[in-house]
Structures are given as C-alpha cells and as structure tokens.
Amino acid sequence: MRFVSNFPYGRAPFWLLVVAVVSVILRVATAHRPEARPDLVVVTHTEAHFEAYRKAIPRFEREHGVKVQLQFTNWASLQARLQNAILAGTEVPDLAEVFEGSLGFFTRGPVADFGVLDLTDRLRRDGLDHRLVESRFSLWSARGRVYALPHDVHPVMLAYRRDIVEELGIDVSKLDTWDKFVEMGRRVTRDLNGDGVIDRYMIDLRYDGNWSLDTLMFQRGGQFFDQSGQVAFATEDTAELIRWYIEQSRGERRIGYECGWGQSVVKAMTDGLVLFQWAPDWRTWVFSDEAPSLAGKMALMPLPAWAPGGRRTSIWGGTGLMIMKQTRHPDLAWELAKYLYFDTPELGKRFLATNILPVLKDAWTLPELNTPFPYYSNQRIGQMYASLAPETPPVYSSPVDAAARIALDQAYNRAAEYYTHHGEAGLMETIRAELAAAAEDVRRRARREKVLEQVVP
C-alpha cells in the first residue's frame, strides 16, 4: 500500500488508472472475432415475410453454394437506419424490403448519389416487366427507372359484418356505386338505444382524412404526382372528393366513424359499431388474426365505383425489395430477389400464410389462390383480389412524397374545419383555395430538390 500512497498524483488517480487498465485487458480478452460477412444479407420488416424467407432461403443457399443471412427489423427503424447508413456510407445489407413512399428518400439528389441499384434493364432482360402487374412499377420508379422489385399489388376491397348486414336486409351486390352505398349508410347509421350517441355506423372513415382519403383519391384516378413528377393532386376532382368525404365523416348526416388501429378496430367490428372496413389483401389477414371470434361472420365485396361501371378497387400500401449499390454480388442479389418474389410454388404457400396477392400474374392460377376462406364466409378471396388487380391504379413516387401527403391532409382538415363552422356555403371555394395552397407548398419543396439534382457529386 506504500506504493499506492507514494503514487505521484495521489490514491484516486492510481485507482482510476487501475480501473482503466483492467477494463482494457477485459475488453481485449473477451473480444470476439467478428463473423465473416455472408455472401448476401437480406433485411425485412414483416414477420410473415421473415418466416416465409427463413424457410425458402436454405434451398437457394444449396442451389447456389452461398451463405445468406436473413435479418428482421421493425420497419420504422429499418428505414431510418438504412437511410442513415446509405447517407453516411457505412455498411448496409445487400437487399432490403421497404414500404411504399420511401423510395423518394433513396432517390434524392444526383443519380450518382442513389444508394440503390437501377433494376430496369434486369427486369426487361428477364421479361419480368410484362409478367408483373404493370401499375406497381410506378411506386418503385424514379426519373423513369425502376429501383425496387414490387412485392405485392394490395388491391382494396371492403370487409363487412356479413351476419349483421344480412340481418339488416342489405344486398351488397346492389351497392355498386358510392351513391348507393351512402344512401344505404344513411339508413343504417343509427342511435339504437336513444341515448344520443350513434351506435352503428356504415363505414370506418379516418376523421383526419389520411389513408382513407388517399385510397379514395387513387380509386378516382387521382395522384399526388404525375408520371413526370409534377404535383397533380390539386384538381377539381380531388376538391369534389374532399367535399364528399367531409359530408360522410362530419356533421349530422355522416355515415363514417374512425375506428383507429389495433384493438379499437377489433372492438368496433365485434360490437357491430362499424359495418364496413377497408380491406386491402394484407388487412384481411390482420382481421382474421386479431378478431378470430368473427370467423364466418365476415365477407368481402369490391369497393363501390364512383360511377356505374367504374373502377371497383384502389390500392393501399406496398412493399418493395431494393438491392443496395454497395453489394459485392449484384447478380447473386438479383437472383435471390427473383427467387424470393417470383418462385411460383413458394408464392402459393405464402398467399395462404399472409393473404397477400402476388404481383406475379402467373401465380394467380395456383390452387392456393382458389381456396375458400372460412373466415370470410368461404369466399375465394385470392380470386376476388386477382380479378381486381389489373384495375389497380398506378401511384407515382417523388422525393417530396411525404410532404405531399401531409399537404393534402392539411388542405382537407382546413376545409373540414371550415365546414364545421360555416357549413356548405362557400365550402367548394375553400377547398379549391386550400388545395391550391397545398400544391404550391409541395412545389416549393420540390424546387429545393431540383437544386440538389444538379449538383455534381
């Protein structure tokens, strides 16, 4: 202890030094040599995809004599981490699945900056451009080139409480236009026990617009951006839609009620509070998973059209598979991407596990897609979605995609607020003005993007 006492700067620095030295020795002694990076790393954000790929990948590894690592990450953190890793130039996976609306971020600035591979020529070379649902390429294209493989189509139908709807004497085959649907909705939306609170609504409608407004806009052929990337949502047709939506979701004559997400949707459906729900293919699995007590009581119908004979579906959501520019094995990554997305026997099994219609048209004839689903009153939902898939509208991507969605919501909410205070008088003029302001706001942001596109990296 005399040594400690005689340490030049006192006891405390001595012990600090001891702690530092011991920590370094422990760290070095317990350090593991990092495992060698496998030939390919794939990341997904969906549990169902992870399970499907986990089963499928060993065959690919055997056939190609390679090692593939599959990772599962929450979608929000996947996107944020991937974006930041690309921007910072740190290590990224070879392939990554991302949600719709995120491509714009990966395709900002000069083309040389894009962190993802251009897949256009590979798609053409392998003839996939004609074998997939054409409208889905729009979601994954930027400046005329395709940067991700579409995984799905996600046509939208309506899921409804068949038992209650039949009890009420509603023939859904006659609800083929939104006018008829609203008319019926006004009849069934009721305060059933006289306490002043409505106990039964026709349809789940977001109070703030959001995805249900977007889905309806796509159904009418509306777009946030046109094919050339110009802002396209400030149209008379969108103004009409907003007026219609306000009427159905606010005021005395409303037929819509916002159910929210998760358990509150399940409760609303189980209680019969809302009869009709938006049902893209992926959500049909969510319903059956979260509300098993409704098995056999649910059924699906195509969306009512905006005009007789019009489009009976829309789209909601989408996943795409990007190949990172940093990959050391682009050809192998492309082979894996095709194997995961377009290996026909696998797609049949995957449909039964997820209810998601494959984007590959050849797969629609698989027996699995013709299977009756007991949850949906034995309807052959695979065939129902497949018959609607060719009608799905394209949705074009932009670096300011998120800004456009926020701007449209803002225009809608301001117009709805106007309606709450002033009613119908002057509503259309307000909607037009708000839409014009929202579009200008998005154009202003897009102009900033143009400055970047001209930068020489």
């Binding site: 030049p8 700067y9 620095p13 944020a80 974006q83 930041n84 690309i86 921007l87 910072a88 130039g89 971020f105 900002r108 600035g109 000069p110 900056d113 609170v197 977001r206 109070y207 703030d208 617009g209 959001n210 009620y257 916002e258 929210g260 509150s264 409760k267 609303a268 509070l273 670096p399 300011v400 998120a402 800004a403 926020i406 919501d409 803002q410 909410n413 301001r414 607020e417 706001d441 202003r444 900033r448 400055v451 970047l452 001209q454 930068v455 990296p457």
Partner: protein, 310 residues
Amino acid sequence: MTTTKTAGRPRSWVGRPRYKGKAPYLFLSPYVVLTAAFFAVPFVNAIMLAFYETNGPRSRAFVGLANFRFLLTDSTFQRALINTTLFALVSVFVQLPLSMGLALLLNSGSNRIKGFFRLVFFSPNLVGQVLVGILFSVLFTPRYGLVNWGFFAFLNWGLEARWVSDPQLIMPAIILASLWLWVGFNMVYFLAALQTVDKSLQEAARIDGANPWQVFWHVTLPSMRHVVIFVVIMSVIGSYQLFELPLTLLSESYGFGANNAGVTLITYLNYMAFRSGDLGLGSAVGWVVAVIIFTISLIQIRLGRIAEED
C-alpha cells in the same frame, strides 16, 4: 509592494498560477480531444451546414441564406413555432403552478405520506416520453379510451373525442400527457426547495397577521426564488425541445398531426433532417431553436436578477 502565496510562479492571463509540469495538461488532454472531436468540430460543421442544401453528407449545394428564408415563409415552420411557444407558455403558467401546488400540499403532510406521494407523482417520469406517448394513445381512444370515458362521465362530453386526429384537440392532448409526465418531476424540485425555507420567517409572518397566501407570496416564494428561476428556465428549454411525446402520440403523421396541429420545432427539424435528408435545413432549424432558447433564457435570468434586487 504586495505578495501572494503563489509569488514566484508564472501566472496565466486570468491571474491564476500556471503550472510548468506537463501532468495537468496530460490529464486534461482526453477531455480536450474528445470535446474537440465530438463538440467543437460538429458545432462548426452545423454552422456551415445551415448554409447548404444537402442530401445527407453526400452532396451539398451552397444556398447562402436560402434555408433561413425558406423557414421564414414556411407555414409548417411557423405553425411549429406557434405550437412550441404555446406549449412553453402552458408549461410555465399551468404545469409549474400545479407542481408548486402539489409540493405545498405534500410539504404540509407527514414524512411517510410525503415520501409515498413523491414517488407516485414522480413515477410517470421514470417511464419516459415514448412510453407515455404510447400509453396515452390508448387512453385517448375514441369511445373506448379511459380519458374519453372520464370526460364523458363527468362532463357528458368527449366519448367520441378524437384527441389525436382532431386538429382542435391535438395540442390539448399533448399538454394533458405532458402534465401527467412533468408535474411530478418539477414538484420534486419545489418540494426540496420548500424544505430549505426558514420556518422562523414564515412563523414570524404569521404572527404579524399574514394570511397563508401572503406568507407564500412574500416569504416562501422569495426564499426559493433560485430554484423557481432554475425550474422555469429548464421548463422553457425542455418545452422548446419537445419531441418524443408528439412523435409517439402522432406517429402516423411523423409527429405533425392533422393540419400540423401537433408539429413542434424539433419534430419539424427531425422530419426535415432525417426523413427528408435535408440536413442543411434541419441545421438551420436547430440554430433558430438555439437562438430562441438562448434569448428567452437570458431574459429570464435578467428578470430573476431584477426581482432579486427588488
């Protein structure tokens, strides 16, 4: 001629003795190097960034003051500034008086009760803003949420209130959640300060005929003014940095909420810098926030000094 104990040693320009040995500088060097690497360089870089439009750290274009001009005319930024300022005002004029009230109540109770309630009121703060955001998004569920049921039971209103999708209710929802989160936290500061107030002064005031309010206003509050000033400054700074709570509560809209009713300066910064990849604009927002906080803090400190002199 005057002499000091350090006479004979070289003196630095601040008048303190300067050591000739290398040891102090050696010991200081890790801190200096780390500070330079993780504070000074990013600090200077952040200043530079505000004058560029960027695509992450890859490509950048010099745009001069364009980022600041964009902010001045951007309605979303203006809304963020209004929302954040409103939240800061509520923090100072609603949250802190509530904290003080709770502290006064607890200060008059027995030590056992005091300890129990201190834990109860402080505990929301232990779980963090993210969990509180998730928790309140459930409590705010229209028709089924506990908050909606509570309002309906007592006020016959609010069963279908859309706290997180009605633009009129989004800010009140954030404020309600933040009150639950922060009132107890600030109460602990006030409670600690109350326990240092000289009881004999309060007793003397009471004997002189002062009522409870006069005792509080003229004796208790001035005695704890340093803590009050500290808490007010920290609350304002915290309010201008509000981020996780709206982001979690309004996660579907990047923390903005319908009609941007819940956007704050930092959620706007986060969206611009990390969602859009425009680090330059994000940096410009950061500087605006820094200037606001610095200015308000200076004003508060000055007002505190004036009050002290009075």
